[in-house]
Symmetry: C2
Subunit: 144 residues, 2 copies
DNA sequence: TGATTTTCTGGTATTTTTATAGGAAATCTT
DNA sequence: AAGATTTCCTATAAAAATACCAGAAAATCA
């Protein structure tokens, strides 16, 4: 139903938290979990997705944790949600790499969906992490 | 994941089919089901949603069926999807009638979600049934 | 009266989402 | 070297959403 799942919303909150606290060394998930009220185990599974896309870098062991790989102004919301949730296309046949729908050339709604995907993508790409963090949320926040 | 469910896509296809064929009297679901390759029973449950919002009108009995209540140019895609899928807000706290999130005034992402909802809504409101039908799809179509 | 079609109730199967559990591997600190 | 901490990996379970089916009642027309 055009919903963002918790996985995506949590990923965004985690990234915002890291952006706030990762200047002086890696941040452990345990401290993020406390601030954000997300269970440690669920966060771990989300981190693997962010790690795979190289949005964060990790160091194991004591006093280890996660750090951002770029400057906060170089992340946009779209790529974070995309990393966490996979493809954001509103209908399936936009998501597949090769358009295997045999009737896509005559499909009356395809241009509409294509336009919607573009609209959403470009809108979310317009928000960077530091833009959001200037709003200065109290942690933990409401779940967005 | 920002997906439109089959319920919404089917509702749109059904409305497009009705728009095409309902000039000369009511259209039975059986004929729509044949053309659109959707099971009769699933369509019935979708029709009850469209009926509740008075997007269509029904007549029972022999040679009964469904008809549009308005002219084709007076339907937009948003209201059809909304009727079929319920609220299209990307995050839950936009969907509730009264904003019960205690921190919504300090939530750093809320304005972004509000803007996204508005963007999507206005985009989909810009498409009317007759705009889509001029593309003249072969029925059944690909599933969009 | 009989045929057809919507409508209603309720149920089931499948998939996706969300979350948890346990332990292995790596790294730091002492 | 030992212990503590933290990421990482695999598996599983609970919950919710989605998709679909069955059967019968009600309405309508011929």
């Amino acid at each position: 139903m055009l919903k963002i799942s918790t996985k995506g919303r949590y990923a965004l909150r985690i990234m915002l938290d890291l952006a706030k606290h990762s200047e002086e060394g890696p941040v452990s998930l345990r401290t993020v979990a406390k601030r954000q009220q997300i269970t440690l185990k669920y966060m771990e599974s989300i981190m693997s997705l962010l790690l795979r896309e190289e949005l964060v870098i990790s160091t194991r062991g004591k006093s280890g944790g996660y750090k951002l790989t770029r400057k906060v102004e170089d992340y946009n919301v779209y790529e974070i949600l995309h990393a966490a949730e996979g493809n954001l296309a509103p209908v399936q046949c936009l998501a597949v790499s090769e358009n295997d729908c045999p009737l896509h050339k005559k499909c009356p709604t395809l241009p509409m969906w294509t336009g919607l995907e573009k609209l959403v993508r470009e809108y979310l790409q317009g928000f960077t992490l530091d833009m959001l963090n200037t709003a200065d949320l109290p942690s933990p926040n409401c779940g967005h």
